[in-house]
Subunit: 395 residues, 2 copies
């Protein structure tokens, strides 16, 4: 999909683009504008979306199945016209993949719907959220809710200080906590041992939200085997595991995600809503999750991508004038030591058609930060070269 | 898409199918099982889905655009992999189509998500729901909510008795009401004059939910011009208009819908949720809504379909041993005067591969009722012939 023509189609002045980007950003709150929107409003062609957190090889794998099983079989019309199955029917498809009872699975219209549902229904009156992190965890807290923040410290490489965290849980007397591992945008990771230590200390809480949306990019052994904390569900009934399927499978456009939780909580959610909250494209994708052949092929592209991510992060570290923070995900948080984030993002967009994520809207980040997502090898190389040149030329 | 081989692929005993259908039905509550599920679990091929409430010509129209603009342009990968735009961005696309300010538009993941949001957030402590109607309007009421029912009377052809209704609004002192026009499954319709009369009488209520999901099949003049009550929004700030896009455009698989309401209510909904509750396939479809050429072609297939629906309903009325109730939608409610609904639905499925909706789970219906949706002309003729034969042979 990558094109090598490196200039925006309509070349426009830096001031125009800078202002247009700011206006766009105002409209979309604490998230990045979509690529569609950037291209439309700025009149430029994004050649390389380095803001986009996904495994591009998994997208290709999915598309090859879709081509063979849907397009060639003339089934596309059915996907558009028929109603999708209900939540509990789709849960059975995920159940086979995870080897976990369907009664514990809630299907969401992307992880974002699940986060909204959980924060509003299960988290009580106060919640402890780590900063910086994915903003809906505090933005979706209703006005009546108290949000307490635990700060990850830059001087500590944004690593998680567990004793300090547990102390704050008790001192603040919150009802609920949110752990995101690997965390976005820092990339810091909690091992299974660390997670269980926190769960054990927080058994008294109403709800522990553990977001594993990026866990397919993490590993705890040299074979890069899949990690997950789902085995802890039975022991900790206050645990809710949130999982986006947009990142690992590279399918953000269809909105797929699930959560694992105590069956009573699934019953509560389905008692007055969430009946047909998925769509036929997600339903087709979930059937692939229970297909052994697809999952074997997915495992291959998952590991291939992690290897490339590791190489990419090593190369990023060779760039002068930036600090690359340690990460266990498919992206890296980068601090610009001599440039402004706004300027670097704009230069990369104008000169190379590369879009990176300016993190100036992320609560809890003090300094000039950008987040760079790994894409395919050639694209990673383009990002390295362009970033190296941009931070050097624009001091 | 219709095949003329009329027997299920695996012929199985009537008892088996009858029990399998009952079990399926138990699993899905007060809705029909999906066609996928019926085919999988019953091992039969549904040739003709007469339960499915949509305009099949609109599906074809959409598919021709999708083929030309997405498939041929190699853009399918982008739809799967890119994030969709946020709610407010998509509202602008609907805004152009409706000629209404985007601030009054809330995009839903199908009308069902909107119904859930409105019932939980805007309807206060009690709600008046007409019976029979679309069941989520009372099923989604939370435990703490009081639901009052207004019965449409069979002996009155399920027509709406407005003075009696308004009296019940005052006597019951409800906070909110729900009007569905045309109503599902009865097909009865409230004219714009009638709607405004009720709105005027109910100005004191917290919320008036007006569901116009089937309004593209209704008409008030001989040219079959589109009707809608959206012009009443400014005058009645308690009004919320709900609109599914699954029926009129024949796209139930992607989950598209919107609601029109006071801008403050849109702000309230978006303040703590519903950020990316749509998907890329819906986003593409919404761009078509603001395309004049597409909308002109849609108007043609909408009117064509209404003409065929009228002819279909006239033919249904020639069948003996059933009563066809008056309808202003693309389906008709039929009372079987000498047969059981279960038996007729099963016979049609086994003998003809035709699936019709048994209405025995619909609150407020006393008798043997099925709901028959109009499809394309040839399919309508098959349904007429099969239904005529089935109600005659199985007395």
């Amino acid at each position: 999909m990558l094109e090598l023509a490196l200039y925006p189609e309509k070349f426009q002045s830096k001031e125009f683009l800078c202002n247009a980007l700011k206006l766009l950003k105002q409209d979309v709150g604490s998230h990045s504008p979509s690529i569609n929107l950037i291209q439309q409003e700025l009149g430029c062609h994004v050649k390389l979306d380095g803001c986009f957190l996904s495994n591009p090889y998994a997208t290709d794998l999915f598309l090859s199945y879709f081509e063979n099983e849907i397009l060639k079989e003339n089934l596309l019309g059915n996907l558009f016209s028929y109603y999708p199955s209900q939540n509990r029917t789709l849960a059975k498809l995920v159940s086979k993949n995870l080897q976990i009872e369907p009664e514990k699975i809630f299907i969401g219209n992307g992880a974002i719907e699940i986060i909204q549902a959980i924060i509003h229904r299960f988290c009580g009156e106060s919640i402890l959220v780590t900063l910086p992190t994915f903003s809906p965890y505090y933005e979706y807290a209703e006005k009546k809710m108290k949000v307490v923040f635990f700060m990850l410290k830059k001087e500590n490489n944004f690593e998680f200080d567990i004793p300090e965290y547990v102390k704050l849980v008790f001192d603040s007397q919150v009802d609920s906590i949110v752990l995101v591992t690997p965390n976005n945008p820092t990339g810091n990771y909690l091992t299974k041992t660390q997670v269980e230590y926190i769960l054990q200390a927080c058994k008294h809480l109403k709800c522990i939200v553990l977001d594993e949306s990026f866990i397919h990019f993490a590993y705890e052994d040299e074979e890069l085997n899949l990690v997950s904390n789902q085995s802890l569900l039975d022991k900790y009934p206050n645990l809710v595991i949130v999982k986006s399927l947009s990142k690992d499978f590279g399918l953000a456009g269809i909105r797929a995600g699930y959560a694992l939780m105590h069956p009573q909580r699934v019953d509560d959610l389905l008692a007055d809503g969430y009946l047909w909250n998925s769509n036929q494209f997600v339903e087709y994708f979930l059937t692939l999750l229970s297909c052994d052949k697809f999952m074997r092929e997915y495992e291959n592209v998952r590991k291939q991508f992690i290897h490339e991510v590791i190489a990419f992060h090593r190369q990023l570290q060779t760039i002068h004038r930036v600090k690359v923070y340690p990460t266990m995900s498919n992206f890296a948080l980068i601090e610009l030591l001599h440039n402004s984030a706004e300027q670097v993002v704009l230069e990369l967009l104008m000169e190379y058609g590369i879009y990176l994520r300016n993190c100036n809207d992320k609560l809890g980040l003090d300094g000039a930060f950008i987040r760079v997502a790994a894409r395919k090898q050639l694209e990673n190389q383009l990002m390295i070269n362009a970033l190296r040149k941009t931070v050097t030329d624009n001091i």
